[in-house]
């Protein structure tokens, strides 16, 4: 049986909780647990290395201190 795609949420979903529950039936959503920029980048090489999609908001920067383009550069390096 194929595993469900992992979806990484930089921010937890606050409003659309019903849909979030539905999403869980076809994916494995998880909220970012890394505590710092360095840890996030390190985790992308480790425990997040097989994520399929990232959900982030403009508020994500306050959480992870990473801009989209920084993340992209890391993932494509």
């Amino acid at each position: 049986m194929m595993s469900k795609p992992r979806i990484l949420f930089f921010n937890p979903v606050r409003h659309a909780l019903t849909v979030y529950k539905s999403l869980s039936s076809v994916t494995e959503p998880e909220v970012l647990t890394s505590k710092s920029r360095a840890e996030i980048f390190q985790d992308f090489k480790g425990k997040y290395n097989n994520i399929t999609a990232i959900y982030s908001t403009s508020s994500s920067y306050a959480v992870c201190l990473i801009h989209s383009f920084e993340l992209y550069n890391q993932l494509t390096a």
Binding site: A16, A53, T57, S68, F69, A77
Partner: protein, 232 residues
């Protein structure tokens, strides 16, 4: 609807609020927009949702006809959608893509606000576009806060020089009084015209992403935190 398979950019537009402002019926508005902007690679799909569930249902049906590698453009009047709506839409897109195991190349979200500033917006777009990603923001002239939602598939992201097209989406209303700022209908037409340009620009270039992490093929960015909380 087979012919729709050939489209390269798919657009959804929520014009209820705009129509309401200018006193036009949705049907008339739809006909005008279709006549003017349904050409070539750009084809619009207009909906007039009365509730989030209707929007999601309609989008779900339309999503099935979008082929992988195609771009999806969502244009909304921000007053139409609440935070929960945008979050819900984002989650649904991820869900549909996951079920299909195919992700659209990119999903661009544009929100239109009554108050925006091209000056501030341009600065933000410039910054975000620096690393191949683009954020579209609307800025409140009063608060300076930004809002918007965007999603990008990293298989074929928007390049910085393409991103610079986007600020033109937001004309300075005080420089064109009565032309765009006071007439939301005209503003909607203006956006579609620009969106058509974006479509052509996007598809005319193929960035080299040979070093891309193959596992990550979809990145969705959504800003629901600052979207208008106007009840629908």
């Amino acid at each position: 609807m087979k012919s729709q398979k050939n489209r390269e950019l798919y657009a959804f537009c929520y014009f209820r609020h705009i129509c309401k402002l200018v006193g036009r019926k949705h049907t008339a508005h739809k006909q005008v927009c279709e006549r003017k902007f349904s050409h070539g690679k750009f084809e619009g799909c207009w909906m007039n949702p009365t509730a989030c569930d209707h929007t999601i249902t309609a989008l779900s049906h339309e999503f099935q006809s979008i082929e992988p590698q195609r771009h999806l453009l969502c244009i909304s009047s921000s007053c139409m959608l609440r935070k929960s709506h945008l979050e819900s839409l984002a989650l649904h897109v991820i869900m549909w893509a996951s079920e299909a195991k195919e992700y659209p190349t990119s999903i661009l979200g544009v929100t239109v606000s009554r108050s925006w500033s091209i000056k501030d917006g341009y600065g933000e777009v410039h910054t975000e576009a620096d690393g191949l990603f683009l954020q579209l923001y609307r800025f409140s002239a009063k608060s300076g806060q930004s809002a918007g939602f965007t999603a990008y598939g990293v298989r074929k992201p928007i390049l910085p020089h393409q991103a610079f097209i986007f600020p033109a989406l937001f004309p300075k209303h005080h420089e064109a009084p009565g032309r765009y700022g006071e007439d939301r209908f005209l503003l909607g037409r203006y956006i579609y015209r620009k969106a058509s340009m974006i479509s052509r620009a996007t598809f005319s270039r193929k960035p080299n992403l040979s070093g891309l992490n193959k596992n990550l093929n979809f990145l969705f960015t959504i800003d629901a935190s600052l979207i208008s909380s106007t009840p629908t």
